[in-house]
Symmetry: C2
Subunit: 238 residues, 2 copies
């Protein structure tokens, strides 16, 4: 087996056992892709067969992780419900997410279609700041979003910057693009799922950059939205 | 006595007794000014004399408050010393000021000569955000700074915006300009004085607006500086 595939799949298994399911799934997928390349290039039929058997084995493991992640997203008992009325203040991310962002959280998955405009990317940066300061064992942040089709690719460069910045804090950042997103939620690997009707972008703009609310969104007025928090203890089996 | 002077001086005495010394001093000064005008316009010599006696009485009271404030600024036993090395992170205002910003704090005095450039005004806004969220009984913020001589008066408009924004939170904001400032310190009315060698502007700029540190300055690198915290229990006599 090629060294790169071995490295990826060894790590995938380690993370899988270690409760770092999101990152593990990515490693399985990358490892399987590497194995597929090896297998195609192989001429010895015996070795080719060995590769194919291994591929099937890892695909089964990856499927199991995927099924677990799907369960996270669809199940869970409701733990909290907040109705934010139009114009209300006091709903910073610290207030909404803070108490669920514990040291048990190793991974974070953000599903949010709109991370394109400047203020939307800023909201993601702010959420990451909170996660890094609140979850001391955070290792991996995955963003599922819709790709911005703009020519200058400001979105891509912004994600690159954020990735480098998170890496300095020991956190991997990975973006997956999707065209057909419906859910807007933040999934924490300690079992909590926070669903916000409007997604992350529920703040109104502040009148001036010198008003309270420029840095601390506790002071920002919000648009009307519902926040539901679910808890799925299965996520916690790590 | 004219109604305006009565209103100002009644409030001055109330705040004086109530531990709101900074705001009280401002009210005494404004009230005395109003009385002086009355006195000048008065033609009846008996009433004129009465005004002058009152002016002397209130000037004495104001002097006492002023002397107390001067004692706050010059005395106090050292409570904490932090040496921030160049490039260090983790020194957000929340870390530096947070534990001293209690519900006992009714007034805040910021002495900082450099509140002119955009990032410097932003630092002041950020400090105010922290004070409002940390000190539930905050009523008054006084800034002592040097006036920016620029034509467009961005500084003046920024302070206006901040004033309106603080007013919505029930906090008065008042700026006094000085040409001869030497101290850089933040004085809390619960007796704590935080002196930072570089004043409020000890953060380095962040590489990009999409890096961690855009909102939470915990992630910002700092310039080398010393932070000394003093405690003067006399401030607390309220």
């Amino acid at each position: 087996m090629a060294q790169i595939a071995i490295t990826l799949l060894t790590k995938a298994i380690e993370y899988d056992l270690n409760g770092r399911k999101l990152e593990s799934l990515k490693l399985y997928e990358d490892g399987i892709e590497a194995l597929l390349k090896e297998s195609k290039a192989e001429v010895d039929p015996k070795r080719k067969q060995h590769f194919q058997a291994k591929i099937i084995e890892y695909m089964n493991r990856a499927e199991q992780v995927k099924a677990l992640i799907t369960r996270w997203r669809s199940r869970g008992e409701i733990r909290d419900k907040i109705h934010v009325v139009d114009g209300a203040t006091g709903y910073s991310y610290a207030r909404v997410f803070g108490k669920y962002m514990t040291d048990e959280v190793k991974e974070l998955m953000v599903e949010e279609p709109y991370v394109r405009d400047h203020y939307q990317i800023c909201n993601l940066v702010m959420l990451c700041e909170l996660a890094v300061t609140s979850c001391r064992n955070l290792k991996f942040v995955k963003l599922l979003t819709v790709r911005d089709k703009k020519q200058n690719d400001e979105q891509g460069r912004a994600f690159q910057t954020l990735q480098e910045s998170l890496k300095k804090q020991g956190v991997e950042f990975f973006v997956e693009y999707s065209e057909h997103m419906h859910d807007r939620q933040v999934i924490l690997s300690n079992g909590y799922i926070i669903k916000i009707g409007r997604g992350l972008n529920y703040f109104k703009p502040v009148g001036s950059k010198y008003s309270l609310g420029a840095f601390n969104y506790h002071f920002r007025e919000c648009r009307e939205t519902n926040i539901d928090v679910f808890y799925c203890p299965e996520n916690d089996k790590s």
